[in-house]
């Protein structure tokens, strides 16, 4: 123990992570980078939850939610990578802008 980092710093860091993830998701056209950006977003979520829970040590709501987020995300990424591999096998590309069959 002995750390006295104020809560504010955690919240700001989590906000920065969230911004990086969000901008990365919208700017990058490579699907793998989009997946990574989503992971960064979720890490921002986890950091925020754990930090807020530190402020309220009487229960573990934030901690428990964090564990569930980690577990559910692992499952989601497994399905997501399978879909990306399926796309790569068919089109030999992992770029969103080259996947353009479905249009108005």
């Amino acid at each position: 123990m002995g750390t006295d980092i104020p809560l504010f710093h955690y919240v700001v860091l989590s906000g920065i992570l969230f911004t990086i993830g969000g901008v990365g998701f919208m700017v990058r056209r490579n699907i793998l980078f989009s997946l990574l950006s989503i992971e960064v977003l979720l890490n921002a979520v986890n950091l925020a939850l754990v930090a807020f829970n530190r402020m309220r040590p009487q229960n573990h709501t934030g901690h428990i939610l964090t564990f569930f987020v980690i577990a559910a995300e692992a499952a989601e990424v497994a399905v997501g990578l399978a879909i990306v591999i399926a796309l790569y096998r068919l089109k030999r590309t992992v770029r969103v802008d080259e996947a353009d069959l479905l249009r108005n």
Binding site: S14, I31, A82, A86, A99, L102
Partner: protein
């Protein structure tokens, strides 16, 4: 015992899903799986209906489940709608997958697990169970979209759906994390109680609420957060599309209603001029108008139905706004969701029936003249398109009627007028289906659609059709059901 009884709809579908996977693994026969999946979901609906009649209020000890799972009449209503939609979609899949040579047992298992997720969302009273239910439902839906493995369109649709779906889930979660920071609660009733106090004006809770709203708008595919919907709906195999349009949408709306009406139901977050209702009203107007305008320009019927489902989400949002003032607006929204469910499943089923292996009918041109060549095949599609357009005596008419009525009673006349204009706009592209079916001849040399034959699809269409007529002729019973589906904690 009471707890097991209260959870019996979810337990029935869960046990059924596991048994179906076992049956799939140990038997070479695929034919019965569709029927099995439909029966399992129908069982879930029957359990929910039995609980409804028995009276969920008389069960003791349900507070052990709270706040994680709240079994009230609202969730039972959604359990019935979700199971009904899932069962009909499974029947459609039974015909479609066999015809198009992609039948594998996983499809039905995925449908069942996604249904469990949707049922969990409908009764979730805490961000934790909400998230788990959402992921269970969404992961199943992503896999269903990508099910046609040899098709580039299917893979592309799944990628787009997956990326935007998980992005939306992340936004929703970050919103809940911030609200947790401000209020110290992740359960919806706790959030509502805390928001009545000083936490209600805390910047974190405001930003959190905004993020939650955006995440929810993504999930119910409101414009401008709808970009994934047409692509995902068009690329997915048609039964998966119908499942997404019905069950996933019902799950998303259950989540939206519970979060907004219970979690953000305090006077400061829920009034006609502040909080979420003005945002939702704006989203509703943009969603209805944009979706209807774009839907009229589509060449593909499947894509047109995707935009039409976005437009219907807009109508539902109008009803959601009206709930803040008018007491029975919630029942109109639930009733509309029921009519939308049976009409949409029927419309996609009718489209499935019009095509066969190698000749899937997707565009308006494919349908040209079908009404003359195969009247019996064209009839369902025409009938359900009329119900979606809201022409009496079909279910869609009373759905729209009651929504308009609640919007008027709530004092949102301008919303009601915009909705009315939009329904007229919507009638254009639904009637276009009828024009192509009955008044056009296929272009010379163009491939003509050959209808398929399937008992499963026919059964699903007859069931959906009977419900559409029943809801259209005597809506009182179902409306009464919806009126009793009150939301605990409101």
């Amino acid at each position: 015992m009471d707890i097991l009884l209260a959870l019996s709809p979810v337990v029935a579908v869960s046990v059924g899903a596991l048994l179906l996977m076992l049956a799939e693994a140990f038997s070479k026969q695929r034919a019965g799986l569709a029927l099995g999946a439909a029966v399992i979901q129908a069982t879930g609906a029957v359990f929910a209906g039995a609980l409804w009649l028995y009276g969920i209020e008389s069960l003791n000890g349900l507070d052990v489940l709270e706040p994680w799972l709240i079994i009230d009449r609202f969730s039972l209503f959604f359990h019935m709608v979700i199971c009904l939609g899932g069962a009909l979609a499974a029947l459609l899949a039974g015909g479609y997958l066999r015809e198009h040579r992609i039948e594998r047992g996983e499809f039905y298992a995925l449908i069942l697990f996604a249904t469990i997720g949707a049922m969990m969302i409908a009764s979730a009273g805490d961000a934790l169970t909400l998230f788990i239910g959402l992921e269970t439902m969404s992961i199943g839906a992503y896999a269903l979209t990508a099910f046609r493995r040899g098709s580039q369109r299917s893979a592309e649709a799944a990628v787009k759906y997956f990326l935007l779906g998980s992005f939306a889930a992340a936004l929703l979660l970050y919103g809940f994390a911030l609200v947790y920071g401000a209020t110290g609660h992740t359960d919806l009733q706790g959030i509502a109680a805390a928001l009545r106090g000083p936490a209600g004006s805390h910047p974190l809770s405001l930003i959190g609420m905004l993020l939650i709203l955006v995440g929810l708008a993504f999930k119910v595919s409101a414009v401008p957060f709808h970009a994934w919907t047409p692509d995902a709906y068009e690329g997915a195999p048609t039964p998966a599309t119908s499942y997404m349009a019905v069950v996933v949408k019902a799950g998303a709306f259950a989540m939206m209603m519970r979060v907004l009406l219970v979690g953000f139901g305090d006077p400061r977050s829920m009034s006609a001029f502040a909080g979420w209702p003005p945002v939702i009203a704006g989203l509703a107007v943009v969603t209805m108008t944009v979706a209807n305008l774009i839907a009229g320009r589509q060449e593909s019927v499947k894509r047109m139905l995707a935009y039409s489902s976005i437009a219907h989400a807009g109508y539902l949002l109008v009803g959601l706004v009206a709930t803040i003032r008018s007491g029975d607006a919630l029942s109109s929204v639930l009733f509309y969701l029921l009519t939308y469910t049976v009409s949409t499943i029927g419309a996609f089923g009718g489209l499935i029936l019009c095509g066969s292996y190698g000749r899937e009918s997707v565009s308006f041109e494919d349908l040209a003249g079908l009404g003359k060549r195969h009247p019996a095949v064209a009839l369902p599609l025409a009938f359900f398109a009329m119900s979606l357009a809201g022409i009496p005596p079909t279910a869609g008419f009373f759905g729209k009627w009651y929504l308009l009525k609640s919007a008027m009673e709530g004092g949102f006349h301008w919303l009601a007028i915009i909705m009315l204009v939009n329904s007229v706009l919507g009638a254009y592209y639904y009637l276009r289906v009828l024009v192509f079916l009955y008044m056009r001849e296929p272009a010379p040399g163009a491939p003509v659609a050959v209808p398929m034959k399937s008992g499963y699809v026919a059964t699903a269409l007859i069931l959906a059709g009977a419900l559409v007529i029943w809801l259209g002729l005597c809506p009182d019973g179902a409306l009464d059901l919806a009126a009793k589906a009150t939301l605990a904690g409101r």
